[in-house]
């Protein structure tokens, strides 16, 4: 199916950014909202005309090509990308709207960067060409660098620099890997590269390509030992920056793993899984990250840092699910990307609303906000519960499926699932700790003005108003809807996931019986029979 819709998807925000940079500052925020809503409309139009259940890329657009090196400006979308595109176009207008009051300084540039960021993020999801993918992947860095570095908190420059250098250092290797693959395959078309890599790469080549791809994506996700840029960037970024960072930018890493690193580096046409040990090592890193980051989140005194560490913990589940390489694991993982974007994005929005009022994020300085702000408290608790993975809300579905994926995976196994599930207990631990401190308990808010020493009940800022409810409500609806009726979303991905799994399934017929959890029992038999 040919279509120019994906071009519109990129062109509207990109052109909008340019136009917005020229508009007067007062108008820029409405312009940004308008442009991001227009982008949303294009994405919704695509979703409406999307053929669900199909495995192939849809809305293909083939622009100019560079036949010398096999690269081309080719766009397209499948069900996996569609949901992430929808997540992106949903979160961006909300972030823009959330910035209306908090961003007063140099607003024009700010909104221009936001729109450019939107274009870049969407580009990653709709690129069918590896080089194009990489260009967009890197392009997201620049707007985010400025959003953190200019409009962030007190340590914004250090945070922005660290963010940039960490992710850039990682993705340099990814670029090298991508070029290597492209030159060897003679094309940068992702689909052809995957086929080439699964069939024609030698084990050594694949190993290095895998490492190169992992370097960029693991930092972006971020996986356990390379996550330290994230808490700082999150804490220092303005609200909208944190929302987009947690909501979408981290998903670029998991998306890259899913679309490139795993199919190219870990799946081999002949034998199925190429490096089972590497798979397990990354799986262990995920599980360690889940537990480690959860415990670190628990002892945080800054709300944003707590949520940031919770992201590290949650994305461990997400990556674990796609490493499981079974359908429910991968589908759960993709759903996890969407769900994490919704609930963590929402969490940052709510925290931002608290910050707008009290100019603090210290847990010790806030307490009992439910009394002053019952509506905000409702949303805060709702999104916390979503993050905890309460059944009936979205987080549960994806968390359960990813753990189940690991638990039943031939390549990971029961223990991966069991240890990851410990993270579910710890998730409730740190989240409820935060809820108990900030929302419940006796009312305590920081003193804002000299003349307002007591800062009790009726004085000071009030509950969230219409604009803020309007920002949170779409997310709340999505959180409930994806918790109650996620099966259409999951089912729509069947075709895309199955096609990704195809080499695994066809390889399996030639390999011996799969490992089961009770392998130890059978092991006891074999050595005995082999003994002389």
């Amino acid at each position: 199916m040919e279509s120019v819709l994906p071009v519109w998807l990129l062109l509207i925000p990109a052109a909008g950014a340019l136009v917005g940079a020229l508009l007067p500052a007062a108008a820029s925020r409405f312009w940004a909202l308008l442009v991001s809503l227009a982008t949303l409309a294009v994405a919704v139009a695509m979703a409406c005309r999307f053929h669900y259940g199909g495995a192939l890329m849809q809305f293909n657009f083939d622009g100019f090509a560079l036949p010398q090196i096999g690269a081309s400006f080719s766009l397209g979308i499948d069900a996996i990308a569609l949901w992430l595109v929808l997540l992106t176009v949903l979160l961006t207008p909300l972030s823009v709207a959330a910035s209306f009051q908090s961003i007063q300084d140099r607003a024009r540039e700010y909104y221009a960067w936001m729109l450019l960021l939107l274009a870049a993020m969407l580009g990653v999801f709709v690129a069918r060409d590896l080089l194009l993918f990489y260009v967009f992947f890197e392009l997201t860095l620049i707007p985010m660098f400025f959003i953190i570095g200019v409009w962030g908190g007190p340590e914004r420059r250090y945070a922005a620099g660290k963010f940039f250098l960490f992710t850039f250092a990682g993705s340099i290797f990814t670029l090298a890997g991508a070029i290597y693959l492209g030159l060897h395959a003679g094309t940068f078309d992702i689909r052809q590269i995957i086929t080439f890599a699964q069939n024609d790469l030698t084990s050594t080549q694949r190993y290095w390509v895998l490492l190169a791809l992992l370097a960029g994506f693991a930092v972006k996700v971020p996986l356990f030992p390379v996550h330290t840029w994230l808490p700082l960037a999150h804490t220092e970024a303005p609200t909208a920056g944190s929302v987009i960072l947690a909501g979408v930018l981290l998903k670029l890493g998991t998306y890259g793993l899913l679309r490139l690193a795993v199919p190219i580096g870990m799946i081999e046409a002949a034998s199925g899984v190429a490096f089972p040990h590497a798979l397990r090592v990354i799986g262990i890193l995920c599980v360690v990250g889940v537990i480690y980051a959860a415990l670190v989140a628990w002892v945080q005194r800054d709300i944003k840092k707590l949520v940031a560490y919770s992201s590290v913990s949650h994305l461990g589940f997400c990556v674990l699910g796609l490493l499981a390489l079974n359908m429910h694991g991968i589908e759960g993982s993709v759903l996890y990307m969407v769900n994490h974007g919704l609930s963590t994005g929402a969490m940052f929005l709510v925290v931002g609303m608290i910050y707008d009022r009290y100019h603090t994020r210290e847990i010790d300085q806030l307490s009992g906000l439910a009394r002053k702000m019952p509506i905000l408290a409702f949303f805060f608790v709702l999104f916390s519960l979503s993050s905890i993975g309460l059944p009936g809300l979205n987080g549960f579905v994806s968390e359960f499926l990813t753990i189940l994926g690991a638990f039943t995976s031939e390549h990971l196994g029961v223990w991966f699932g069991a240890f990851a599930a410990v993270g579910v207990i710890l998730g409730a631990l740190y989240m409820l700790h935060m809820v108990a401190c900030v929302i419940f308990g006796p009312l305590k808010v920081p003193v804002l003005h000299e003349d307002n020493v007591t800062a009790v009940d009726e004085s000071g800022p009030g509950d969230i108003g219409g604009r803020e409810i309007g920002i949170l409500l779409p997310l709340a609806i999505a959180v409930v809807w994806l918790g109650v009726y996620p099966s259409p979303v999951l089912r729509s991905m069947n075709g895309a996931v199955r096609s990704m799994q195809q080499p695994l399934l066809s390889a399996k017929h030639t390999t011996p019986a799969p490992r089961t959890m009770f392998v130890r029992a059978s092991r006891h038999v074999h050595p005995a029979s082999e003994a002389p």
Partner: protein
């Protein structure tokens, strides 16, 4: 079965209370205010009518000798990913019908009571919204036809429990208790969740009964080798969930603290319904449990041990609600012993009778608490029967039922459990008999101290409002025994007396329940016939009647005849008293060996995060560049656009180089 009205429209059973909750939640604060109980009354009331009609129709079908007394009904596919599939669907059989009737029936009475009890509270609408939500999740839990939907209800009731314990969220004690309840339950749910995953791994479905033999509980009767191997572990994992939800050792610690919630909550959630979910679940999954001797023994032993543990701690509690909380833990222990010794009918029977009398006891305590200006310490009150004559009557019924006084409901149900336990093992039976004695003693200790003797009423502390009550609500002229409070109590008291005759040999709750495919599996494997079909007056019954009377007599001797005597006895038993007063230091042990080490670990990890991991990065040499980079930015503020342009230019150059080569 499918043609029954209540089955056809069964989605209304959970959805009506949910709709009520939504209305109360959305419009309660501004519009409904003091009328916020109406949507919940109507929703839960209609739901209770449906449940009772389901029960009545099912009984009449059973009377006519219908062979298949169960139905399963799928509404839509909830989660479907790869081969994993879980539906939103309900399952109906005698077991779920009885549970539903208890949940919505007792629930409705308690909600009616609440409208009187909670009058004038600050978050009136919030309370009723949560209560409606609770009935929604609890009925979902009971009616689910697969493990995953059960899990939804399971965690959902935990959420409602959390919200309601934390109802007075401004009190630090309430908020900590709420958090503790959720977290301890999460530990149990961790096991339960893994159990569900293991079930799916070997059975490839999470449905209980497929109708065509394709359900987990059907396949479990004839397992393959792989399934049989997994079934060595599955019951233990599921059990962990049950221990958390039903407050069994070692996960019982949250329930006493849960008394921070309003009293109707303690009655509904923490006595009558939610905490029995674990018993229900094990009874439901009998097919997975019965083949596993070790698991059954563990359930029975943990149950008996918890029964004794709870009863001993209750001996030295002075807070009315805490006595009842430990008593609930202890009585749940009885139910666990019952399902553990293959007598799920006795367990369910006790569940039903306990729902009536424990809800009654809690609500009576609520009335006392109102009349005593929020005071719950039984040392500070006495002779309350003169102020609260009706309540005195009702609580006496509840106490008699709990202590197993002959011919009141608790007597029958408890004896069936003791008899079944004795058939299995004299040790288990002995523990339960001892516990029965302690139960009778602590129950009447409460009654004699609070309701009998000379009249002592605590003075209300002048400015301090207890439990967030509106102070105006506390004043003396207000009648403490209004009709809206007494009517539900009267009905519950009636139930507490009569429920014991439900399982009278000829009327046959036991035989009816045995028509449930879940229960049938367990009763088929039981060593002897179910007690329901035995002659009523066994020697055990006589013995336990004597034990109950002895406990009551001891309570009379120590706490009514001469109250100083009990203090002297406590002093004489010094160390023992201290151990009981400290509740065996279980909370302290958890704090010291679980919570604190974890927190320390978190701090250490955070330190590692900041020093080691970041330090490594610094060693690699990033930081010098980083410093320079940041410095440039800070000194040349305002030139950021220039940097952006340069960066874009750089990107373009890189790309061009790539394209050209």
């Amino acid at each position: 079965m499918d043609a029954l009205f209540a089955v056809k429209y069964s989605y209304l059973i959970p959805l009506l209370p949910l709709a009520g909750a939504a209305i109360a939640g959305l419009f309660g604060a501004r519009i409904l205010r003091g009328r916020s109980h109406w949507p919940i009354w109507l929703g839960v009331g209609a739901s209770a009518v449906l449940c009772l009609s389901l029960l009545v129709h099912m009984i009449s079908l059973w009377r006519t000798g219908q062979s298949q007394l169960w139905a399963t009904k799928d509404f839509y596919t909830w989660i479907e990913a790869g081969q994993f599939k879980a539906t939103a669907g309900f399952f109906f059989d005698p077991l779920s019908a009885v549970m539903l009737a208890v949940v919505t029936g007792v629930g409705f009475l308690i909600i009616v009571f609440s409208a009187g009890y909670m009058k004038g509270e600050a978050g009136y609408y919030r309370f009723f919204a949560y209560m409606g939500l609770f009935i929604f999740t609890m009925t979902t839990l009971v009616m689910a036809n697969n493990f995953l939907l059960l899990y939804l209800g399971w965690e959902g009731v935990g959420l409602c429990s959390y919200l309601l314990i934390g109802y007075y969220y401004q009190r630090p004690a309430a908020r900590e208790a709420a958090k503790k309840a959720f977290l301890v339950n999460r530990i149990g749910d961790f096991g339960f969740g893994l159990g569900v995953m293991l079930i799916w791994k070997v059975f490839h479905t999470v449905s209980y009964f497929g109708g065509d033999g394709g359900g987990v509980l059907e396949m479990a009767l004839n397992p393959t080798a792989q399934q049989a191997a997994a079934m060595r572990y599955i019951p233990f994992l599921l059990m962990l969930g049950a221990f958390g939800k039903s407050a069994q050792f070692p996960l019982y610690v949250w329930l006493p603290d849960a008394m921070e919630g309003p009293t109707p909550v303690s009655a509904l959630i923490h006595a009558a319904t939610m905490v029995t979910a674990g018993v229900y679940m094990i009874a439901r999954c009998s097919a997975l449990f019965v083949g596993n001797q070790a698991a059954m023994l563990t359930v029975a032993a943990v149950g008996a041990f918890t029964a004794l543990l709870g009863a001993t701690i209750a001996l030295r509690q002075f807070d009315l609600k805490r006595v009842l909380a430990y008593s609930t833990i202890s009585q749940l222990g009885y139910m666990f012993t019952a399902v553990g010794v293959l007598a799920p009918v006795a367990g369910m029977f006790h569940l039903v009778t306990h729902a009536f009398f424990k809800a009654l006891l809690f609500l009576c305590c609520g009335v006392v608490m109102h009349a005593m200006a929020g005071e719950l310490d039984m040392r500070k009150m006495s002779g309350v029967k003169r102020v609260l004559p009706w309540t005195n009557l009702f609580i006496l019924v509840g106490c008699l039922a709990l202590s197993g006084f002959p011919f009141v409901s608790g007597f029958f149900s408890k004896d069936e459990i003791i008899a079944a336990a004795l058939r299995q093992s004299p040790i288990l039976g002995g523990i339960l008999l001892l516990t029965a004695f302690l139960t009778a003693y602590y129950t009447f200790r409460l009654y004699f101290r609070v309701f009998q003797g000379p009249l002592v009423i605590p003075q209300p502390p002048p400015a301090q409002e207890h439990a967030g009550h509106d102070p105006a609500h506390q004043h003396r002229k207000h009648s403490h025994e209004s009709l809206i409070l007494m009517l539900p109590l009267a009905l519950l008291a009636e139930g507490a007396i009569l429920a014991g005759f439900l399982n009278w040999p000829k009327s046959g709750l036991g035989d009816f329940l045995a028509a449930s495919p879940s229960i049938a599996v367990a009763t088929a494997g039981a060593p002897a016939a179910e007690p329901g079909s035995e002659p009523l007056f066994t020697p055990i019954m006589g013995m336990s009647a004597l034990i109950s009377l002895a406990g009551i007599a001891l309570a009379y001797w120590l706490h009514l005849a001469d109250r100083a005597r009990s203090d002297r006895l406590a002093a004489a038993l010094g160390p023992l008293t201290r151990v009981l007063d400290a509740k065996y230091w279980v909370d302290e042990i958890y704090q010291m060996f679980v919570v604190e080490p974890l927190r320390q670990l978190g701090e250490v990890f955070f330190l590692i995060d900041q020093l080691v991991l970041d330090g490594l990065v610094a060693l690699v040499g990033l930081v010098p560049q980083l410093g320079g980079f940041a410095m440039k930015l800070s000194t040349q503020r305002g030139y950021l656009q220039g940097y952006a342009a340069v960066m874009l230019l750089g990107m373009a150059v890189i790309l061009l180089m790539i394209f050209v080569t």
